[in-house]
Symmetry: C3
Subunit: 329 residues, 3 copies
């Protein structure tokens, strides 16, 4: 890469440059190679401390970051809300500053409210402490490491040896499901539109952002982004179908009629995929509600599903992010 990484925090993909995407993709690819060895460890972050501050419970994402940090030989501190000082009246910033004072070098932060990782990053910068902050999901805002692992999965599916952003140029990618509430979709929109792919969103109107409501279905918002209320319109000839997790609590708030109806209208089955590109591949950020977003035969078919690849790539991409953030300190 011609430029050198100087982004200390990864909070959002809204201002990522193409060369930054490529830096992540190339670095992750070299770590992916490390992970295929029997001894899957490098000494890059030896003696440094990565703190997972998870104010919102998570097992899968926390484990992925924990493993990424361990494979870089970092020491890990895990903070989980619950049995914590938060119930004792401490503010979130004070919690972060406590872990900073203990000697944290990088923080991985998940919170149910949008903006918390950015607020903590701003405080770290104000204190001029050199600590990097990685947003591991904030409310309905962004989840950049998920979008980057999705991007890495898409690109390595096309070219395993040289993943780069431009490989997606002109590809047709459908994103299906609860766009409105999805921080994964929001981050993916930044990376996919940056790549030059043609992105088609499909969701029931109640699960689309209000800002999109004025657009006529099927009409491009810009040359790359299209909105659909029907699944088939979105996935026709698609190269990739990215499904989103449906949060069942949406139904209690009457945004959805029933899981069965959702599956009938927007569930991905082998049958529905027949109108896609014959080599279509399906993604899901997990955990999956089998038989709702995806049928089991699609999910378990290694020729169609990239779900396992996404999880494996997640560790490599998170190693790459921690490595690059660490290099800019």
């Amino acid at each position: 890469m011609s430029e050198s990484w100087n982004r200390r925090h990864v909070l959002s993909l809204c201002d990522f440059e193409p060369w930054e995407y490529d830096a992540v993709l190339q670095t992750a690819n070299s770590f992916r190679e490390v992970l295929s060895r029997r001894t899957k460890k490098v000494p890059t972050l030896q003696g440094q401390v990565v703190t997972n501050l998870f104010f919102e419970p998570s097992t899968r994402t926390r484990s992925s970051f924990e493993l990424a940090a361990k494979r870089l030989s970092a020491d890990i501190l895990n903070f989980a809300a619950g049995s914590s000082s938060l119930t004792k009246g401490e503010t979130i910033l004070d919690t972060a500053k406590t872990y900073l004072a203990m000697g944290t070098d990088m923080m991985v932060i998940r919170h149910q409210e949008a903006g918390v990782p950015a607020a903590i990053a701003a405080e770290m910068d104000r204190l001029n402490c050199g600590v990097g902050v990685l947003n591991a999901g904030d409310g309905q805002h962004e989840h950049p490491s998920q979008a980057l692992l999705d991007l890495f999965t898409l690109c390595t599916t096309i070219d395993r040896s040289q993943p780069k952003l431009s490989l997606l140029k002109g590809k047709k990618i459908a994103i299906v499901g609860d766009i409105l509430h999805s921080r994964v979709a929001r981050s993916n929109l930044w990376s996919l539109t940056a790549s030059g792919a043609e992105v088609h969103l499909a969701a029931p109107p109640t699960l689309l952002p209000a800002a999109f409501a004025e657009f006529v279905q099927g009409t491009p918002i810009d040359r790359q982004l299209f909105i659909h209320w029907k699944l088939d319109d979105a996935i026709r000839d698609a190269d990739f179908v990215m499904t989103l997790r449906l949060q069942k609590e949406r139904m209690t708030s009457h945004l959805l009629p029933s899981l069965r109806e959702y599956h009938r209208e927007f569930g991905i089955t082998r049958d529905r995929l027949k109108i896609c590109n014959p080599h279509v591949r399906v993604l899901h950020p997990g955990p999956t509600n089998r038989g709702v977003e995806l049928s089991s035969d699609v999910m378990d078919d290694p020729n169609m599903s990239l779900v396992s690849e996404q999880v494996t790539n997640g560790v490599a991409v998170r190693m790459a992010l921690l490595y690059l953030m660490g290099s800019s300190r």
Copy 2:
């Protein structure tokens, strides 16, 4: 050992060969020696990942496996049901496959339902991924690592330098307590009968498996296995008395009258042990209800109780199992 270990999973002792028992005993004995050094670590599993999937809460067994893995220099991931994706609708197999995709090399699984570790092992084999599964307790089915540490404790009590299965031939071993619900008893029955020991079970009739009800008390089921409804009949001349943990919730289901009555009938005291072999030793898998299964004076007498030995040996035996499983990959 003349044969080489090729068992990738340890799910049950039902089909263990005598030489396999001996391989575990000898390997554990060499690790037991490592544990007596000041630096109690070996680099055997460096860079490999052992994942503890504990769907049923446990502190003691999880800590023992965690320490065993750390002393083999593995990286550990801990999954505990609760704040997990399970509540988000993911299936158990999908949870296991997620940890597989992250890069798990071996899984240690505990679940409240019998058969879950075997089902996950079958899926791992179907995927041809080389991952080994160790059953850390499944419902009322089996708990093989506990039975193997019990076996190691019995054998090293007889011969510390050369523990082997045949040392138990002809020994009289009593198992006392809630046989019906005990996965520990079930696994021990396989190993002890394989050793050629004479095994005497003692329990209130309500806590014996229905299959045993037809047998007249004191009559051998086969030449090695005897059932008793009274404690004294079982422990007379016994070389070892293995007590089982009493789960207090059994009483609410009216299988037991009261803790006090249970202790009077089946509790092990110094007095009751007088009819045993004068060198009798007592085991308990822990955690113990003092004054119920065991009186405190027996439990705290290092000349009688092997309870601490069992815990110490647990780490060495689990190191041996992870080592042997890893060697078969």
Copy 3:
């Protein structure tokens, strides 16, 4: 130091000798230097096991001990009450003995009842096992590692290169808040009076120990210790003001009128501090209730607040304690 450390347990500061305080201060200072390096690790406790037995929930203190142990290259086991065997009827001593039998070298113990760490230490000595016990807070009794990190913070503020107890001789130190319920205050009283400082306690009469009630306000209990019911009397000309955490549940038991009234009477603000030594520094053990014990402008002013320093020093002091305890084995 002329004498060599032979204290295996750190349970209370009541019998600490001046040279022992100095040994902790000097050792912590050398570890503080290690923590300023990029690779903040030393191999001192490699292969040894430090077990955190936290019967009372804690995030901050547990993380601090965990990081201290990791930086000494120890392996860590974390026991947290809750999903534990305690609910299965096991006694606290049996839990400790289980972790001993697994191979624990040092135990860090927090419990809601005073005396539990001492009881476990006595049992370890009885078993002659060489295991050291560190009290990480027991009921309203003591919290020695907190008082030692406070002491280290006070001394290094005066002389960063040569912290020693005698630096505090003649300094005026105020301790403000819930003295009655504070294990932190209790441990600090031992170290500060040993140093030759003049200690002034300020609290509402309901939050002072009954033993102090007979003393007239402002009259010295001994030449070094004074009691006040009003804040200004205590902090006038003070070099250091140590605030204590206010536990909000005290109000429900009618020991306190309201948080607002508490803050008006005993809260530390920039304005109230004007009667102190112009170089006064403020401490708080954390987590802080902003606007109750301390106003935000004081807490966030690095020229006044030592709160972050305390957290950073906590890791160095805990490394020193584990190191010294380990050296006496």
